[in-house]
Symmetry: C2
Subunit: 416 residues, 2 copies
DNA sequence: CTGACTTGATTAAAATTTTTAGTAAAGTTT
DNA sequence: AAACTTTACTAAAAATTTTAATCAAGTCAG
């Protein structure tokens, strides 16, 4: 049993209200420390509303158990430097399972984002067949084998995937078309661990908020540009999920009257004119027509991916540049609607398209200038994401740990 | 000095931390009680994290000062009924100043929404001339005279108006075109009272949340339909203001490519095809063309107002019904974008158009079915507002009192 | 209708925490 | 190097929270 589970057990086993309260405060202290990453004793006193002596004894106890460590010293503001406390490494280890359109990427990281087992991708395609979920289990077991991972070293599983995920009950509409099958429960039973499930864009938004371009901001839109187009909405410093977890489905906003048929069943969705799918389809059609472009050098046109187009555009290919620009203009028009409605302080462009840099930002900015009210746009910065390969996994770790604490604290407070 | 101000003074004058804490807790108790309207001792203990004995003595003290009263008894859940406490009448009296497009409406209400001085409307037109603000002061003084109101009986002023209002610093873009003039400060100086200023749609959203169709809901869109079209966004049970207070400007979302010129400077804004202004302009043009409609009986076509069109539509006028339906279709298309982005649990249709009932809801619903993803739309109810004439003023009272508490508690906690 | 069983209100003693105050340690600034 | 700040830690005094007990006011089954 892990140190954190010991602590939770201590709360459950407490005989008097006093010992219970003390143990519960230690759990809350761990959560606060995870949330804020590094805090001084004084910060903790303020955050948790306890006195210095009490907080001191709590910290001392957790220090002795090696659950937290004095890491650095904070900046002095005219006197002695305060000690900064941090959760110890390896207190909570998360298996990150990032389900992408044609692959699953896995990595194991601890609460401080240390990589415990190196990432690896496996081919995997989402469909709505019944066997998918069992396939996923097999891929996970394969990863365990490949990296020599013992299951007992994993504290919880974090799952991210595109599509509609009901965050309140843990169902989704990606595997199986009926809403009743509960992946979280299935995996939880299979592995005997806490499972957190989150939509990929919302995971990205958490990453940007905690470690990326949205740090220290309150109201931000995170646009994830890849095969599809997703939106993560940050409001009051929190990622807004939507009433059932379905917020941010901007890719299927209807944008063109009587437009092209989208795979979602509607016509003229934004994704039909501004997405990786659109880019690839358009490029394929144009290449067949004989348009001059570096893309023609590609061996197999069927393998064409959005990143190839971005790549040649960055090399100066005029066709690719124009294609990305027209996409940027349409996307900018959509973003202008969002800004007009939500008045954010920043828009963060994330995902594979961020690599296109100003080739995409300038067309977007152009549309914003045209379609947004001055006062609302003026203070809204357009920023490119700067997260690295493990960036989204870090957000997934964060979501998983938060979910774990939330679930446990709710059930602990119930059995008052 | 009012009872509430006495209490605040007590906090400031407190010599020891202990007496200060106690006085501060009484202020917080008053705020909690205002926020939740009616609470039992047990509720207060839970909400504020204090023990029964302590809370009991706080309540006793405030009861003796006549700041709160035991009002009703709660429902029994198998034993003795608990006493429900409520803030006493007349503890905080708000002058509500609702600035509309062509009028100002005023009313004085207390913290429990009792009308102390009957409402009255005065003609008033917003422009960006310097003299406007002084005109407003004159109209307020006129109201005081007409209703025999003594200034000392007013605790604070609540101001609602259309347009962009920076809620953090109290400036607006309705009076004066430059952003630097501060109406709140001006009126505060003129009357020596706290002034809260809020955008009319956000005020309406607060009303719907506290007393209307959005009660007990978490994530709701409130559409205010009048001369313009406004949107109030309720997220996690709070009205979302936007980073600078400019959220919800849906009327100026660009909706028609190279459409009609809007007064905001852009082309093809939603308001040019779905608003009271559109309705009136379209009707005037059609009547001149000789379309058969009951509206022709109107004496003066220049006086045509949206409510006239709604009225004849309710009487069965086919032209008006069709006109409203086409507006509803367009509006529904816009709302479908919002639902797709924000996944609310309900959409509340408020404002004068709500009187059109199913004549407007059915066309809207029709568009929603066409343009929104099934899963997101399914659990989203479309509801009509049921607020009465003073409904929006009640939201303004609520905003004003909340603002007053927030401001005071912030400054009190600063001089720790 | 009565009696057993709830839950709520109130009070008092015991346990614990918070204040308050004082001292030492560790920096910064003049 | 001295004076001033801020943090860390300890201990006595003061206040609050627990805990427990009693009374009041309901519900509900028989």
């Amino acid at each position: 049993m892990s140190l954190l589970e010991d602590l939770l057990e201590e709360v459950r086993a407490a005989k008097t209200t006093i010992t219970r309260k003390s143990a519960l405060n230690k759990v809350k202290l761990m959560r606060t420390l995870f949330d804020k990453e590094m805090l001084t004793l004084g910060d903790l006193v303020q955050d948790m509303g306890l006195s210095f002596p009490t907080m001191n004894s709590l910290v001392l106890d957790l220090h002795q158990r090696k659950m937290l460590v004095p890491k650095d010293k904070g900046e002095s503001i005219g006197g002695r430097k305060p000690v900064l406390y941090q959760i110890n490494d390896g207190i909570f280890n998360v298996l990150c399972v990032e389900i992408e359109r044609f692959a699953v990427r896995m990595v194991v990281m601890d609460n401080n984002n240390n990589v415990l087992f190196e990432p690896k991708s496996y081919p995997f395609e989402i469909s709505t067949q019944e066997s998918d979920i069992e396939d996923l289990v097999q891929v996970i077991l394969q990863y365990f084998e490949d990296r020599h991972i013992e299951e007992q070293n994993i504290s919880a599983i974090g799952l991210s995937m595109p599509g509609l995920i009901n965050f309140k009950i843990g169902t989704n509409q990606t595997f199986y078309s009926n809403n009743s099958f509960n992946i979280s429960d299935y995996l939880k039973q299979k592995f005997g661990k806490h499972v957190a499930m989150v939509n990929d864009v919302k995971g990205a938004a958490i990453s940007e908020l905690a470690y990326g371009a949205a740090q220290d901001k309150e109201n931000v839109l995170v646009i994830l540009m890849d095969w599809g187009i997703g939106l993560g909405i940050i409001i009051d410093g929190k990622v807004y999920m939507g009433n059932e977890g379905f917020s941010g489905e901007m890719g299927h906003m209807v944008f063109v009257d009587e437009g092209e048929l989208c795979y979602c069943g509607k016509r003229g969705c934004l994704e039909t004119i501004a997405s990786g799918v659109y880019l690839v389809n358009q490029a394929r059609a144009d290449i067949e027509k004989g348009v001059p472009t570096l893309l023609k050098n590609l061996k197999n046109l069927a393998d064409l991916q959005p990143q190839h187009i971005i790549q040649v555009a960055n090399q100066g290919d005029q066709y690719a540049i124009d294609l990305i620009a027209s996409l940027g203009n349409n996307l900018g028009k959509a973003i202008s609607l969002l800004i007009q409605i939500l008045n954010p302080e920043a828009v963060v462009l994330s995902g594979k398209f961020a690599k296109a840099g100003s080739l995409i930002t300038i067309p977007i900015q152009q549309s914003l200038n045209k379609y947004t009210m001055n006062a609302i746009r003026q203070k809204c910065e357009i920023q490119l994401s700067s997260l690295d390969d493990n960036g989204y996994a870090q957000g997934l770790v964060r979501y998983t740990v938060e979910d774990y604490f939330k679930n446990n604290l709710v059930t602990l407070n119930m059995n008052n």
